[in-house]
Symmetry: C2
Subunit: 210 residues, 2 copies
């Protein structure tokens, strides 16, 4: 007859505790903000003590980074699930855009990923996370469109970053109550504007600044 609480390997214990902490932190970070959530509250929700937290994470910020990482992965997964990778390049971009905007409606997700994330971890760290998850499919879609000649050839990294920034702002605006249709319309117009068409058929000789 073994003990009440079964004998667990250290690896299992660590994994379970880390998961509990991340889950509790995720819940609180999405309900409130990073700054408004204290570690005592997190560990209470996770059913451990602060000692466990600081054993598994170097500081509160590291726990936050783990939460952001996980949440970014979930968002990427939701997008991939909703948007089949085939189709024509432009259709894939549209499907991905809608899936992203839908995924970002999860409560607190915009604040976690778009406000607290960049402020707490810095833009560089967030870029790193985004590039490992969500942005990847966006960039691949853009590259595909360029190769298919349905999109102007432009610096890929910059284009990916700027379109992602527009999507992010759209998600924030929509959550704040703005018209989803308006923002969707503009996003599509921005993407369609990148078609390799005659640039701007207006008065020739427009002065170039700088």
């Amino acid at each position: 007859m073994q003990q009440e609480s079964a004998r667990r390997s250290n690896r299992d214990r660590t994994e379970a505790t880390r998961a509990d902490l991340i889950a509790a932190a995720r819940k609180l970070f999405t309900e409130k903000s990073y700054a408004e959530t204290g570690t005592p509250e997190i560990v209470a929700a996770a059913g451990v003590t602060r000692g466990a937290l600081y054993h598994h994470f170097v500081d509160k910020q590291a726990l936050f980074a783990a939460v952001v990482e996980q949440e970014a992965a979930v968002v990427a997964e939701e997008i991939e699930r909703a948007s089949p990778p085939s189709l024509f390049a432009r259709d894939a971009l549209i499907a991905g855009s809608d899936a992203y905007l839908a995924a970002m409606r999860a409560p607190g997700r915009t604040r976690l990923l778009l406000l607290d994330g960049p402020a707490v971890l810095g833009r560089a760290a967030m870029d790193d996370i985004d590039n490992r998850h969500g942005n990847r499919s966006l960039r691949e879609g853009l590259v595909a469109a360029m190769r298919a000649q349905t999109m102007k050839k432009l610096p890929v990294e910059a284009l990916t970053a700027l379109l992602a920034a527009a999507f992010d702002r759209a998600a924030l605006a929509i959550e704040a109550g703005a018209s989803t249709e308006d923002y969707r319309t503009v996003l599509m117009a921005l993407i369609d504007g990148l078609s390799p068409a005659p640039a701007h058929p207006q008065a020739p000789g427009s002065a170039r600044t700088r």
Copy 2:
């Protein structure tokens, strides 16, 4: 013969103290971050005590809001100075874009306005500030371009917000070491893509999602 420190009216005292606090806070908030800057440090730099701070500002966040407000005004001013309001609509947009990117190179400004600002004050509050200052000229430029028929007619608020978001991300990327030319190229491509040209001269009957 009057006293050593001249008799000052309350209005002057308040104005001077508030200005000192905002200046000291601005310096520290741009050198470090909002979270890393404590009120004791701020008041020491300003030459007052925390009592003065909490007399003039309801809390640390309110002081931060005042700093952001002022900095946003300075940025808007720098843009207006560098970009004459006349010219053709597109040229004005380009000049304004370059001026914005140049203005955002001031040390710590991107973190203050683009990272800490949204996280601490919220996107709604930042939108409010932006609309009172920087975004105004952008929106007016877009409206002018639309009226001049050199730009597709689109929801103005949404377009302004999304382009502003792209500019913001570009400023962050450039500060992080990315190629200014790359980002400038993409920004111009995004703007030029909004010309009222034949949208995308490709295979007809492309399926519309939703």
